[in-house]
């Protein structure tokens, strides 16, 4: 027995020496990586341009952050499953028009106030439900399903749009969109509240916990009697609801219902999730990481403009950063014969 114990110690210490410890070290670095990157970005931009760290610019960053953050936080739940939600832009468009046309506007006599907000968000939830049911029950790959429903969302929005963007006239809702409190944009409070709720959902509910299990290995979930379909659908509903929320927020901010309200936000949101450290293959990550990722994306965009980079170049730089981030997060997992699909 004594020898055997020695053997075991030997074995485990040898394993620790070779694989595990270096892997752990690398994964710790990856965990800290996004935060370090954010700090570096802030440092570089504040040196390069003195206006970067001024209150005014921080306010701009805050208001740019809010809509992206809500969208990306919702997206995180789907990406944790190893899926993807490409319908966000379409969902935002549909929810934007539903919201503005039900609130007080210059097109019709509706004035449902906060009910219009609920309807806008509900539109997103409905799209998410359709996504989830189609993906989980009919086993259609999520990218295909959401690509389709996203187009449907654009279609719905275009029909409602009717040639001229309806303007939002409800004063109190407009205040929420552009107003600020203690120097911080009101929408940022909303976004941070959404982040807080998402954190609780991720930490304390089945839909949050099982996301990791299903994303890690769906077969294990099924063997444990977990109804994976239900929780997958749940994740898509969260993502859709968040997109609906983002659509309403953007409409309130711009005072208008617009088909293009979510334009370019899809790629940015996915980038924020991935740059934050949630892996596209699922099972690892979280909404707090997405918060850091969103900050990185916004700071990068804002800083590049401040130092005078043209918007076209800025998009290119942003894309390079994102691909580099993805390459870095998968670095410890790299193995020559690992298959990436």
């Amino acid at each position: 027995m004594h020898t055997l114990e020695k053997l075991r110690d030997r074995a485990s210490s040898a394993v620790g020496l070779t694989g595990t410890s270096s892997h752990r070290w690398a994964s710790r670095l990856i965990n800290a990586g996004p935060v370090v990157a954010l700090v570096i970005l802030v440092a570089v931009f504040s040196i390069a341009n003195s206006t970067f760290l001024t209150g005014g610019n921080l306010q701009t960053i805050g208001s740019q952050l809010s809509i992206l953050l809500v969208l990306a936080v919702g997206m995180t739940f789907v990406i944790l499953l190893g899926g993807i939600d490409l319908s966000s832009e379409g969902v935002m468009a549909a929810s934007s028009l539903v919201f503005v046309l039900l609130a007080s506007n210059d097109r019709n006599g509706n004035n449902f106030g906060w009910m219009a907000v609920a309807a806008g968000i509900g539109t997103g939830a409905l799209f998410g439900l359709v996504n989830g049911v189609l993906h989980a029950n009919l086993r259609i790959p999520s990218f295909m399903v959401t690509l389709g429903t996203g187009a449907v969302g654009i279609g719905v929005a275009t029909v409602l749009f009717g040639g001229q963007p309806p303007r939002l006239m409800d004063a109190s809702l407009r205040t929420w969109g552009v107003g600020s409190w203690l120097g911080v944009s009101a929408l940022l409070y909303v976004a941070l509240a959404v982040l807080g709720v998402a954190l609780l959902v991720q930490r304390y509910t089945r839909v949050g916990r099982y996301g990791y299990v299903i994303g890690g290995d769906e077969a294990i979930a099924s063997l444990s009697g977990i109804n994976a379909k239900k929780y997958k659908t749940g994740a898509f509903v969260i993502s859709g609801t968040a997109a609906g929320f983002a659509g309403v927020m953007a409409s309130a901010q711009l005072d208008v219902g617009d088909v293009n309200i979510g334009k370019n936000l899809l790629f940015t949101a996915i980038s924020a999730v991935v740059v934050g450290g949630t892996v596209l293959s699922g099972g690892r990550g979280g909404v707090l990481k997405t918060f850091v990722g969103s900050l990185i994306i916004v700071v990068l965009g804002n800083g590049l403009i401040l130092v005078g980079v043209s918007p076209e170049v800025q998009i290119a730089v942003q894309s390079v950063v994102i691909v580099a981030a993805v390459a870095m997060t998968s670095w410890p997992l790299r193995r020559r014969v690992r298959v990436v699909k």
Binding site: L7, A14, T18, Y204, R209, V213, I220, L223, R336
Partner: protein, 514 residues
């Protein structure tokens, strides 16, 4: 001993009565009856395809039987899914670890059974952790329930797996039955003792069904042994009055030759130039200064505990990983592979441990799998010649005795042993393969399939193939090899000649392993 006597009187914990299950064209289970008594360890053995997995799948609620009944503590039960089986008190430890590394130990132990620790849909972590701690305490484990599973060692994960199986007891008022499906097939020999100690501990709180291919282990831990063959339960034996040979005969239906490993067929190696040579091969953190050579027709065994660096070495030789220093020579030429593609072109074949992950292409046919490595022999220009393909593949299916309905069948539907033979055929059908690296080629195979693999290894040697073998057990490595290299902490600690009749003993090797 007294325990055994008293348990015979008691109500059996689990009774399986006249269970029958058919699949299209196959009777997987044919009128199987057996029982498990309180605090008893029951061994269940049988070749692949004998019906063990079907029985386990019924016990775990994945399949419904066509007829027959299951009783737990005298009460008839039926399952619609895995949760029902757990609620009835049956805990499964699956062959491959079924744990999720991204979540905590507690979440893994109580996966799917969190209900009690939820209030209105919200987790109460303190409650969940407390419940997990209770299961961990039962097996005397000091793992923290809040630890992330990904940070644990393999052996610690095995403990978590046991705790998870034991957790069924929470939902079930009575003694649970813990089913261990091939728990030893992925363990190194040093972890075995720990597992056996765990089984003794489990016995205090549960009944245990121990499913294994390794007859000696079954004899060692079980109070009774059931033997399954062709879907039937053919025998029930007392380990004290039965030996491995008899069990083997019952299981396979033929005499066990003492020459299990075909030692007599081990031909001396010709005095030829080595095919593969390494000089001072080093991969930082994995192995240091490894120099070895293999000649044609030779089996070079590599022994070592987990973490000694032999898996890493085999991956480097196959070009699946890079190395930091040293040289690799193949047929007198210095080579450096940047990927397995280069290694295959140069004539190195690799049979991985993770058969299902790395070895076969599931969803593809037997034919396609055989041709994966090299299809030049059956090609005309860029196209495959269907007639030649059929000829070549059928020839290998016959030669290796691969049991498949036809060469177009999906490999995923073959048994483990037959899948392994398909992988062998893949490399053997390629005329350029000169060196074959076998990484645990018999892992998870039953005795009959193992014998086939051993016979094949001997035949390959006779045809001048050089083989590097990382075996499942020390006995296997010693018996099959011409020479055995022992690795310790990443470097070579000893080299043994292993000619038939003058083989080293496992104990001699172990001295150099630790």
């Amino acid at each position: 001993m007294t325990q055994l006597m008293s348990s015979e009187m008691a109500q059996p914990t689990l009774q399986v009565e006249n269970l029958t299950k058919t699949f299209p064209g196959v009777i997987a289970l044919d009128d199987v009856s057996l029982e498990v008594r309180p605090h008893e360890v029951v061994g269940l053995i049988g070749e692949n395809g004998a019906g063990k997995s079907t029985l386990l799948n019924i016990l775990s609620g994945l399949y419904a039987p066509d007829s027959g009944t299951l009783k737990m503590n005298g009460k008839e039960v039926s399952f619609k899914g895995p949760r029902d089986s757990a609620r009835a008190g049956i805990g499964m430890v699956h062959q491959e670890q079924s744990l999720v590394s991204a979540v905590s130990v507690a979440e893994n132990i109580l996966l799917g059974a969190e209900d009690q620790s939820l209030t209105a849909g919200w987790y109460r972590w303190s409650s969940l952790n407390r419940r997990a701690q209770r299961q961990l305490d039962k097996i005397g484990s000091r793992i923290r329930p809040t630890a992330s599973l990904g940070t644990l060692t393999f052996a610690q994960k095995q403990m978590v797996e046991l705790a998870k199986a034991l957790a069924v007891e929470e939902e079930y008022d009575g003694q649970p039955v813990i089913v261990l499906d091939e728990p030893t097939s992925v363990l190194e020999s040093d972890d075995l003792e720990t597992l056996f100690a765990e089984i003794e501990r489990l016995r205090q709180v549960a009944s245990v069904v121990f499913v294994s291919h390794r007859l000696d282990e079954v004899l060692r831990v079980s109070d009774r042994v059931y033997v399954m063959k062709d879907g039937r339960c053919v025998a029930e034996r007392d380990p004290k009055t039965v030996d491995v040979d008899e069990l083997y005969r019952l299981m396979v239906g033929r005499e066990s030759s003492g020459q299990f490993y075909r030692e007599a067929q081990q031909a001396p190696v010709r005095d030829a130039e080595p095919v593969l040579t390494t000089k001072g091969l080093t991969k930082k953190g994995c192995f240091v200064d490894v120099s070895l050579e293999v000649r044609p027709g030779e089996v070079l065994g590599i022994a070592g505990v987990q973490g000694a660096g032999r898996e890493e070495l085999s991956r480097v030789l196959f070009g699946a990983d890079s190395y930091d220093a040293g040289e690799v020579w193949l047929s007198g030429k210095r080579v450096r592979f940047s990927s397995p593609v280069g290694a295959v072109r140069a004539g190195i074949g690799y049979i991985p441990t993770e058969r299902r992950l790395e070895g076969i292409a599931q969803g593809m046919s037997v034919k396609e799998n055989v041709l994966l490595a090299d299809s030049r022999a059956v090609s005309r220009g860029p196209f495959l010649d269907p007639r030649l393909v059929k000829e070549l593949v059928s020839q290998w299916v016959m030669k290796l005795n691969i049991k498949t309905p036809n060469i177009d069948a999906d490999v995923a539907n073959l048994s483990g042993g037959n899948q392994q033979k398909v992988i062998l055929a893949k490399w053997l059908s390629s005329p350029r393969v000169k060196v074959l690296i076998l990484d645990h080629p018999t892992r998870g195979l039953d005795v009959g399939a193992k014998e086939d693999v051993y016979a094949l290894i001997r035949e390959l040697c006779a045809r001048d193939m050089a083989i590097i073998l990382l075996g499942d057990t020390l006995e296997e490595v010693i018996a099959l090899s011409h020479r055995v290299v022992v690795m310790r902490d990443g470097s070579i600690s000893a080299l043994f000649e292993a000619a038939p009749g003058r083989k080293p003993t496992p104990v001699e090797l172990v001295k150099w392993m630790v």
